[in-house]
């Protein structure tokens, strides 16, 4: 579960703050390096969490996004793994396979070296599972949308009718036959 430890700090720094993984009282915790937030995991050990935190970013790297959004994907996977022993096993084996691939622990490889290992594992259930989870989880996180300029749900604001649906002023003005005016 994610706990916001310092709400103002979280809001100010979510986009940029790095995360660290630690073990506290026997459980794995992903926490913001500045202490703004922390997540407690229940299925993954610290080594697995560290790998997944880097892997999810390697899959869909956005420099504008802080670690918290990737950590939330890991947290969601952790929750599913807790409920699904087969998934937990897939992840455990996959993380071990990453480390086995070159004989050097995957996290110790250079960024390019990490990608080569991932590329070679592209068809594995482990890779596909983590990729699918990240693709859905990361881009479905409403908190990342403003970084992409996506505004999402609009019905509660009366749609975009009065909120810029025709504001691309750099385009040609269509004639009224092609694009009649909106209702008054």
């Amino acid at each position: 579960m994610k706990r916001i430890l310092d709400r103002r700090l979280f809001l100010r720094t979510a986009a940029s703050t790095a995360a660290t993984v630690a073990v506290a009282g026997g459980t794995t915790v992903i926490a913001a390096s500045n202490g703004a937030w922390a997540m407690t995991l229940s299925a993954f050990d610290a080594a697995t969490a560290r790998v997944l935190l880097v892997m999810t970013r390697d899959l869909y790297p956005h420099d504008m996004l802080g670690d918290v959004y990737y950590a939330e994907v890991v947290e969601s996977l952790d929750k599913k793994a807790k409920a699904d022993p087969r998934l937990a096993e897939t992840i455990r084996e996959g993380v071990a396979a990453l480390d086995r691939a070159t004989g050097v622990p995957w996290l110790q490889l250079s960024p390019g070296g990490r990608l080569e290992v991932l590329k070679a594992m592209e068809t594995s259930p482990f890779f596909q599972t983590v990729k699918g989870e990240t693709l859905v989880g990361l881009y479905n996180n409403k908190l990342v949308w403003h970084h992409f300029g996506y505004q999402g749900s609009s019905a509660e604001f009366g749609g975009y009718l009065h909120r810029g649906f025709q504001d691309a002023g750099w385009t040609m003005q269509p004639d009224a036959e092609a694009s009649p005016p909106p209702p008054a």
Binding site: L59, F148, G152, S154, A155, L161, G164, E177, P180
Partner: protein, 522 residues
């Protein structure tokens, strides 16, 4: 709302409540005919719809497992999701974008006009445009299609403005905000469009026509409709003479019932409709019902689709406003000089960030992909909708081993592009890119076809019984009280979005059915 007895064999059972089934049910009820409408999905409403792509997908999409085969990329990227269609009251009229175009005259006569194209099972429709025109007019009035019946077009959103800019610079002539079954002005007790931008997720303003809040309540008001939601048809039953007698279905608790019927109409979309006929095989009909021609499940069409997205220097915010209110029609005709038969429409399309991530380049990951996605707010998008060639081997079949929760074989959807499809798509990608380059695009993205939204042809109508499954009224050749009432009866696919034609055919079928019942012919 009416409740009819299971043993009441005077009712018409309509299976599926979408564009075909929902319209047919209402048309019959308006004529005083009792209808039991079976719908596998739940009943939602504009209040329960959500402006959230994944949540809405889970709420309304048909997610029962299907398998795929063939060389189409959908089989690789979405092996268990050949189609993005709905299981909900209103069917895929909840999800559709609203584009409502009449077919062109030659598109009813493709075998005659296009000639014998190798590998294609082209066939002329048993009816022509003139036969459908009065029904198109009634469908347009019913649905409130813009640019018909004095209804103004929708105001163009940013995505349309970009399309318009490029199209005009390129010299295209027929470019406007489309003929859309979306209210540009309040009409029929429903709001005007609020430019919400979530047309695919169920329209929360009800400005977009859907049988859910038009045809179905109108039918309920007659006291002649017994709508049974969360009831999935499993088998159509017949007697020793081949006459259809009723439908076996499972209710929401899994309990099975048989509803007796005077007539059964199948409107489950082009994957489930043939599946139901095939799953209704008996000792008398070992190849399934209505299948003496062997055509049930064959000639599966999905339109030659694809999308072109482009990234611009300036913001577009394509997600703001009506998803598909923008069209270029200059390529819709049949002009073999382009190197293919048939034509295509170019229509605006946008996806929210979550679905853009899933569909922009399915399977892709890494920095090249995320760089493209970071241009999201500066992207414009269009969808290609072109006529694809029917092929006997493009086909819905029953899976040899996998069964659903009722123990019935699940469907497999096999599809290979015909060379004509590939040539058309290549042309459309080039033209779409040219439009956007003319508008100043700095990067073009050719996006492969999504899971099919236009599923057609798997119970096609024909002039002769050996060529198809039903006649021009959707009446099956083999069982005179069994009808096909959805897009699976299309002989060929045409270049236009199919819903308006499905609705027109349903209105026409209702007239025929009522007449045949009155004459005691069925």
């Amino acid at each position: 709302m009416a409740r009819f007895e299971l043993g009441d064999d005077s009712v018409v059972v309509v299976i599926g409540s979408g564009a075909g089934g929902g319209t047919l049910a209402n048309e019959l009820c308006q004529k005083g005919i009792k209808v039991v409408l079976l719908e596998a999905g739940k009943r939602e409403s504009p209040e329960t719809f959500v402006n959230d792509e994944w949540a809405a997908f889970v709420q309304t999409a048909w997610l029962d497992k299907r398998t795929t085969s063939g060389s189409w990329r959908v089989a690789r990227d979405f092996p268990n999701l050949p189609a993005w269609i709905c299981k909900t009251v209103g069917g895929s009229t909840v999800h559709w974008a609203g584009a409502s175009l009449r077919f062109q005259e030659h598109e009813f006569k493709t075998r005659s006009v296009y000639g014998d194209i190798a590998g294609a099972t082209l066939l002329d429709w048993p009816i022509g445009l003139a036969d459908l025109e009065p029904y198109y007019a009634r469908a347009e009035a019913k649905m409130g299609v813009t640019r018909t019946n004095g209804i103004p077009g929708l105001p163009g959103n940013n995505n349309f403005r970009v399309m318009y800019t490029g199209a005009k610079r390129l010299g295209y002539k027929t470019v406007h905000t489309g003929r859309m079954a979306i209210n540009s002005r309040a009409r029929d007790g429903r709001s005007h469009c609020l430019q919400i931008g979530f047309c695919f997720q169920g329209c929360k303003s009800a400005a977009k026509w859907s049988t859910l809040y038009t045809e179905i309540p109108a039918a309920e008001a007659t006291g002649k409709l017994d709508l049974r939601s969360e009831c999935q048809a499993l088998q159509i039953q017949h007697d020793a003479s081949g006459k259809i007698t009723g439908v076996l279905y499972a209710d929401k608790d899994g309990r099975q019932h048989v509803q007796k019927a005077r007539v059964v109409c199948v409107a489950c979309n082009s994957i489930e409709s043939p599946r139901l006929l095939l799953n209704s095989a008996s000792s008398k009909y070992p190849d399934g019902l209505a299948n003496s021609s062997g055509q049930v499940g064959r000639n599966y069409m999905r339109h030659t689709t694809g999308s072109v997205y482009a990234t611009f220097d300036r913001p577009v915010h394509m997600f703001r406003g009506t998803t598909m209110a923008g069209i270029i029609q200059d390529e819709a005709g049949h002009d073999p000089k382009r190197g293919f038969a048939g034509g295509y429409e170019l229509e605006t399309l946008s996806l929210g960030l979550p679905f853009m991530a899933a569909f922009l380049d399915p399977g892709a990951w890494g920095r090249e992909f995320t760089r493209k996605l970071e241009g999201y707010a500066h992207m414009a998008g269009m969808w290609i909708v072109g006529e694809d060639m029917p092929q006997a081997s493009n086909r819905v079949t029953l899976h040899p081993t996998e069964k659903d929760r009722f123990g019935l074989p699940i469907p497999n959807v096999h599809f290979d592009d015909h060379p004509n499809d590939i040539a058309m798509r290549a042309h459309a990608y080039r033209q779409g890119a040219a439009v956007y380059r003319a508008a100043g695009a700095r990067e073009i993205h050719e996006v492969p076809p999504y899971p099919s939204t236009h599923n057609l042809g798997t119970n096609r109508m024909s002039a002769r019984p050996q060529d198809g499954v039903c006649n021009s009224f959707g009446q099956t050749w083999d069982h005179k009280n069994l009808f096909i009432s959805d897009g699976s009866q299309f002989t060929t696919g045409a270049a236009e979005n199919p819903t308006l034609t499905i609705v027109a055919l349903a209105i026409r079928q209702a007239e025929y059915l009522a007449d045949q019942m009155a004459k005691n012919a069925i």
